[in-house]
Point group: C2
Chain length 220, copies 2
DNA sequence: CTTGCAACAATTATCGATAATCGATAATGG
DNA sequence: CCATTATCGATTATCGATAATTGTTGCAAG
């Protein structure tokens, strides 16, 4: 009986690869909020067919980074002050739910994963790398949600990550001080890893709120 | 100055129309959970091109009724016991958030919309039409979320409606008695319409929980 | 009988062409 | 000059063909 490999070979489709490139361009500011993503221009630019671009845009819609307006085209999302508030409230809601569920079901593997991300987050904080910190903050919560083991929660949370990342990357000067981020995440990590679901829930609740108030207050 | 019409003329795309037909088939049991939706079969069946089917399937993915497995095809979702639990928890979470936001921002138009749906729900309950009642229950909450005015919450909640509807339609014998549904929704409607956000939040929280326990307990 | 390989059919993924729609600009009429 | 209509170019939507990949079946070998 041959030993089967742990991981299956998997090559991303052309659609998925193209989506990754476009996503990167969006997050790196090559495209501005509200920009129209013209299918034929992208097709010519990436050297693929229009239909491959349509497939790629489908992935970006799933990430909530792009909206499709039938017969008019695809557009990079625009984030209003209202959107910021909504995203913050929804992050608060889903992150705290994720923290509770993760604490209820935590495993050794889950602890290790979270610890690793938290270590990376601390390193970025100490290096004063705000952009990296923003990414790792969101990755931390993504990991919490993944560790929670709810695929459906994961799917919903995924739709918040892209817009939050897009917004925070452009407003990183409003992001809290690095040490504040560590001080907010460390007790949350502890509560989750020790299985204290209600404490994790409360900490994740409180955790997001100062962010939202701080970021929303100044006029955009 | 000519009087402009209130509503713009809008014709659904072929993709969207095809998606509606397939969605209807899924919800009416023509397709079973886990069934593979073969692009070319659907294209022949509906008399459209494969690419139109791909576009339609994109819409159904957005509704969380269909999953795409690259290079293998598209499949009608399967709902495990775990899924039922997750959907219930997430409904609980988003419906109560929606109830709170709706109560905070309620308008006369919002009250009228909710009242109309509630009236339809009562009519279905009195007629003992369980299938209709299930639909209207979900429509009630969809309306609450819409009235709440958070487009992003609406987008997230939308991903729960399809699966919930698919599940409840097949398990309607486990759905609470019609009068119970009325008794649960009437005080919720009152709280929202009177602007009592915290009461609406609590009622929506309590409202979903008995459902989840009742439905999940029996073995599927 | 079981396992492995090859062949073939089925299907998905991608291509590029054409039809339909929209947006911009020019022409016309009041 | 302004408002309306017509025209044209740009782009999206849909088509159908072909390439790539997967899944099934049959056959041979151990």
């Amino acid at each position: 009986m041959r030993k089967m490999p742990k991981a299956r070979l998997s090559r991303p489709s052309l659609e998925a690869e193209t989506a990754n490139l476009i996503r990167s361009d969006i997050l790196n500011g090559v495209w501005k909020q509200g920009d129209r993503l013209v299918e034929m221009d992208l097709a010519n630019s990436f050297g693929v067919s229009q239909s491959t671009i349509r497939g790629a845009l489908k992935y970006l819609q799933a990430d909530a980074l792009v909206v499709h307006r039938p017969r008019r085209g695809h557009f990079v999302i625009e984030i209003s002050e209202q959107d910021v508030r909504e995203i913050s409230i929804l992050r608060d809601t889903l992150e705290s739910l994720g923290a509770r569920l993760a604490a209820q079901t935590i495993t050794e593997e889950g602890r290790n994963r979270l610890q690793r991300v938290f270590n990376d987050l601390c390193a970025a904080a100490h290096a004063g790398n705000r952009q990296k910190l923003i990414e790792l903050d969101l990755l931390f919560h993504r990991t919490v949600v993944e560790v929670a083991g709810s695929e459906r929660l994961n799917e919903l949370y995924k739709r918040l990550v892209g817009p939050a990342l897009l917004f925070l990357r452009m407003a990183d000067h409003l992001y809290p001080e690095p040490q504040v981020i560590i001080d907010l995440h460390e007790p949350l990590l502890s509560a989750i890893c020790s299985g204290d679901a209600e404490k994790a829930f409360a900490l994740a609740h409180r955790h997001t709120e100062p962010d939202a108030q701080r970021i929303v207050q100044p006029k955009l």
